[in-house]
């Protein structure tokens, strides 16, 4: 009797857990086995948002209008207005890499929003090289700046929570300050608790 009960319990446990192992394992960072959680922006959310925003930007054909290719772009401020602390590089780096790969845009790392330089050493060495050569330092000014905002919206009905993360980006031409492209991507997740896989 006890044996039958134990076997039934084990079978039920196996059914509930599927065949998931409790041991740590590697999963594809861009695959559907990643964890979906409601209280944070997951890796697949960053990937999807970056991918769709890049696709929208490229489909707009706006990058072709720059007088010189590759056009120089600087990353301006990406405001995080969500309730969670995030590193916005999760979004911008993927976009930068993708745009660099297209051959249409290069990103400056020696100019940044609020004077915050990404690669201070490159800026210093450039300055030193110019000084040693007795020249004035040439700074390549960006043709575009990329700015944006992250937003979230959370609602609850009974035990079910829903959260929407909104990723907004604007590409501005620095010569006139006009946003020549703007994109928005929303990701909505609904459920009661985090799950493995989607």
């Amino acid at each position: 009797m006890k044996l039958a009960l134990a076997a039934t319990t084990a079978a039920a446990a196996l059914l509930f857990t599927g065949c998931a192992s409790k041991n740590a394992k590697y999963v594809d960072s861009q695959g559907p086995e990643t964890i979906v959680s409601l209280d944070r922006i997951n890796i697949q959310d960053w990937n999807a948002a970056a991918d769709k925003l890049v696709a929208k930007l490229l489909a707009s054909n706006v990058l072709e209008r720059a007088p010189e290719l590759p056009a120089v772009m600087a990353i301006s401020r990406i405001r995080n207005n969500t309730a969670v602390q995030v590193d916005t590089d999760n979004l911008t780096k993927k976009i930068r890499v993708a745009l660099l790969e297209t051959g249409k845009v290069v990103t400056t790392t020696t100019l940044g929003a609020d004077g915050k330089v990404e690669d201070a050493m490159a800026a210093e060495v450039g300055s030193m090289q110019a000084f040693m050569a007795g020249e004035k330092q040439k700074t390549v000014l960006p043709y575009y700046t990329l700015s944006g905002k992250l937003l979230d919206d959370s609602v609850k009905s009974g035990n079910t929570r829903q959260v929407t993360y909104t990723f907004q980006l604007s590409l501005t031409t620095t010569k006139d300050g006009l946003a020549v492209w703007e994109g928005e991507e929303q990701i909505t997740k609904q459920g009661q608790r985090s799950t493995v896989g989607w």
Binding site: D28, P32, A50, V54, L58
Partner: protein, 142 residues
Amino acid sequence: MPTPFVRAAALGGIAALALLATGCATSVNTVSRAEAQATPNYVNDQRVITDSTLGRKLAIVSVNDGKVSGDLLRVQVTLENRSSKPQAFTYKFDWISQDGMELSGPTGGWKQVQLQGREVRAVSAIATNPSAVDFRLKLREN
């Protein structure tokens, strides 16, 4: 002779049974121009079905391609949910260069698409690498 109350109860029961049988399914009705003005560049495709259940649920209606931003390959695949219930699928585009090498990029992971019952929707992607000349779309059921 059944009373009006019994008749109403019986009708209610039949309606509830019908609702249960359909599983609250709602499918999408559509309307579009009778003679399409668009002239897509359709691609002759080859399909490999390893999941016949998925093959029955999700139809590939058409594949067309084009170029954006000058030299970047864009592919659009139109899908149809053959079920009358909403279904979620995941898909992934791979890009292949002239010499047959698969190109890896910063974007292009698996993505989810949710189709309402009988809904037709296109999924598309743009190769960020200008050397991409071919593609492979992978589809799987959620």
